[in-house]
Amino acid sequence: MIAAVGTTSYLLLAAALFAIGAFGLLVRRNPLIMFMCIELMLNAANLTFVALATQLDDINGQTAVFFVMVVAAAEVVVGLGILVSILRRRPGATADDLAELKG
């Protein structure tokens, strides 16, 4: 089953996911959607790790995935916390509205 789908396909899928995530991050203004896009990019990276770990038969790639997941979870915790407090104060704010520190 695994052999039927080659590593190249996984990598193409990962590249497509990453491109979608990056595009979404650049064009959407809703902070929550932007978050989801970041998650998409992180998981695209995870997919390349796993695919290559399997192909090279190297456990290190899978180990790295766990690190990325933990970091992503931590990031979500902090990021969502900030988002909630911002939106509570300014309901409906977009990412472009949050530009107080501009030069």
Binding site: A22, L26, A99, L101, K102, G103
Partner: protein, 657 residues
């Protein structure tokens, strides 16, 4: 006993600290008595050290007392050390001895002054600094004292600082002295780089052994000469001394006649081996500066009407004689004249102070006259001082001036001629002063009845003084003021005993005492004149000197007492050859413009460069901050582009993969 040399500066320092802490409580006159006692205690210490040195063999008469290591920086070692040798102890003896007498006089003179204790505070600090100056074992300790006396001089000239002219005179003295101090500092740097030490013993030793190159020695000697012209009020830096007469008269006597102003001559004597190994023109320069200053100041003194100004220019002139002696290698003569001059000039300044006191703060000699009937002691002692400075035998000035003229003639005839002309002028202007003050008709009586107030010399306290002129009568000063006068008159009369020449059958035992005493210090630099014409014909020189003195006195007598000849006092003399005015003009016009240029250069070029950097940074930053839009998505995009570019660089250019 010689180890206790540190006591000499310690007593005045203790007096300074005590008056600093308790001066206000001690008040008038206890603070003055305390200060006087301290200076006399210092004098007693100096006498004890003197006898101790006297009991040693001649070549061992040198004790160094190190208190502590002052500046230990690598190879640069400076100790706070005192050098007790014949030269420094001679200086200490007359500084503290005459200083003590002047303190005593000042107790009477300053009585009733609002800042009485502060006056003695400064005076004791001055004596401390002066003893530090002369006792210093290295140039830095001497420089400490040098600056100390300069500061005290400033504080005391401007003692009555509410008077505009006094404050200005103080500043003038301070600034002029700084020009000289610059020379001393450079000399110190040079001495350190040349011999690696500031100690006199090392410096003089290297000169005596020939290690010190003639060029370096000349540079050190000339730089110290700049310092000496500042401190000892010689051309071209003499300007501050006549103005320094704004200070209280005891200050003029102590600092600006007897002690501080001889500091420059002392310093040059201290380094006499360095001068000896300099190029020949260096001592010649010193001698000519001295001789020209002596004549220059004497001509100015001819036409002064302020009793203290005459004495001030006379001081400049007499120190010119000392410089002349130093330049011609007559160090003993220089120190000898320094000591006798300290006695008779202090005497005359205090006498002038007594006159000013008795005349209710009047300083203009045109408003005096016939005072000998009212102030017999002041007049009598002043006349002794006059005979001493005029060079009438057997008073002290005759012996010391004669010795200087001997060395001058042995060196060069033009110097001798300048010296003799100065001697005639000295006798002339001092006689003029004595006649104007103590003889002739009493010009103050007419003033007293004159409703029109006489013009006030310095614009001070016009109302009180001149209202008092109505029932005005000069009076003799109290004993605390005339006792120092009598003692100093005694010294001025017999001071010549210090260093009698072998003339007139004076036996060996009592001649050239000072020379034998100072010999260990000055033998390297002292000129040998025994083979010159002047040395073999001393009697001729004595005759010429006496003739010069008597002709000056006689001429002045004819002009001012007998009034046979009309007085000739050209305004060029009265205005000091317009030297002061010329300097003021130069500093006011081209000098100020020059300084303005420097200021502009600083404001526009130097500050401009600094400010320009700031402006450029601000402008760049103002532009650069526009890049910070605050749009998170834009930042993310830039990061993305950056990553792509980096990757492209690694892959395409570096060829990884």
């Amino acid at each position: 006993m010689a180890d206790l040399v540190w006591l000499i500066p310690a007593f005045p320092l203790a007096g300074f600290l005590l008056i600093l802490l308790f001066g206000r409580r001690l008040g008038d006159p206890v603070a003055g008595y305390l200060a006087t006692t301290m200076v006399f205690a210092s004098f007693v210490s100096a006498v004890l050290v003197y006898f101790d040195l006297q009991s040693m063999p001649t070549e061992d008469r040198e004790t160094v007392v190190t208190l502590f290591s002052w500046v230990p920086v690598g190879t640069f070692q400076v100790d706070l050390a005192f050098l007790a040798d014949p030269l420094s102890i001679t200086m200490c003896l007359f500084v503290t001895g005459i200083g003590g007498l002047i303190h005593m006089f000042a107790v009477g003179y300053m009585h009733g002054d609002a800042k009485f204790s502060k006056f003695f505070l400064y005076l004791n600090l001055f004596v401390f600094s002066m003893t530090l100056l002369v006792l210093g074992e290295n140039l830095l300790v001497t420089f400490l004292g040098w600056e100390g006396v300069g500061t005290c001089s400033y504080l005391l000239i401007a003692f009555w600082h509410t008077r505009e002219s006094a404050a200005t005179a103080g500043k003038k003295a301070f600034v002029t002295n700084r020009v000289g101090d610059w020379g001393v500092m450079l000399a110190m740097f040079l001495a350190f780089s040349a011999v690696g030490s500031l100690s006199y013993s090392v410096l003089n030793e290297s000169a005596e052994t020939g290690e010190l190159a003639a060029s370096t020695a000349s540079a050190i000697a000339l730089l110290l000469l700049i310092g000496a012209t500042g401190k000892s009020a010689q051309l071209p830096l003499y300007l501050w001394l006549p103005d320094a007469m704004e200070g209280p008269t005891p200050v003029s006597a102590l600092i600006h006649a007897a002690t501080m102003v001889t500091g420059g001559v002392f310093l040059l004597t201290r380094i006499n081996p360095v001068i000896a190994v300099s190029y020949d023109w260096v001592p010649t320069t010193i001698a000519w500066i001295g001789a020209i200053t002596a004549l220059f100041a004497a001509t100015i003194a001819l036409a002064q009407n302020d009793i203290k100004k005459v004495l001030a220019y006379s001081t400049v002139s007499q120190i010119g004689y000392m410089m002349l002696a130093v330049g011609t290698g007559g160090y003993v003569a220089a120190i000898f004249h320094m000591v006798t001059h300290a006695a008779f000039k202090a005497l005359m300044f205090l006498g002038a102070g007594s006159v000013i006191h008795g005349m209710h703060e009047e300083q203009d000699m045109r408003k005096m006259g016939a005072l000998r009937k009212f102030m017999p002691i002041t007049a009598g002692t002043f006349i002794i001082g006059w005979l001493a400075i005029a060079g009438v035998p057997p008073f002290s000035g005759f012996w010391s001036k004669d010795e200087i003229l001997l060395f001058a003639l042995a060196d060069s005839t033009p110097l001798y001629v300048l010296g003799i002309i100065t001697a005639i002028l000295t006798a002339f202007y001092m006689t003029r002063q004595v006649i104007m003050v103590f003889f002739g008709e009493a010009r103050w009586t007419s003033l007293a009845n004159d409703d029109e107030a006489p013009e006030v010399a310095d614009g001070e306290e016009p109302a009180e003084t001149h209202n008092a002129h109505g029932e005005f009568k000069p009076h003799e000063s109290p004993p605390i003021m005339w006792i120092p006068l009598v003692v100093l008159a005694g010294l001025a009369a017999v001071g010549g005993l210090l260093n009698l020449p072998k003339l007139f059958g004076i036996p060996n035992g009592i001649s050239y005492e000072l020379e034998h005493w100072l010999e260990p210090v000055i033998e390297f630099g002292e000129a040998d004149i025994s083979a010159t014409w002047a040395y073999d014909n001393k009697y001729v020189l004595v005759a010429i000197a006496v003739a010069a003195a008597l002709s000056g006195i006689a001429l002045a007598w004819l002009v001012y007492q007998k009034k046979r000849i009309k007085p000739w006092e050209p305004s060029v003399f009265a205005n000091g050859w317009y030297y002061d005015a010329a300097v003021s003009w130069f500093m006011g016009k081209p000098g100020r413009e020059g300084f303005q240029l420097v200021t502009d250069f600083d404001a526009k070029i130097v500050d401009g460069a600094v400010n320009g950097v700031g402006v450029a940074v601000t402008a760049t930053a103002t532009e650069a901050r526009k890049g910070q839009t605050g749009y998170v998505r834009q930042y993310a995009g830039i990061i993305g582009i950056g990553v792509v570019l980096l990757l492209g660089w690694f892959v395409v250019i570096r060829g990884l993969l």
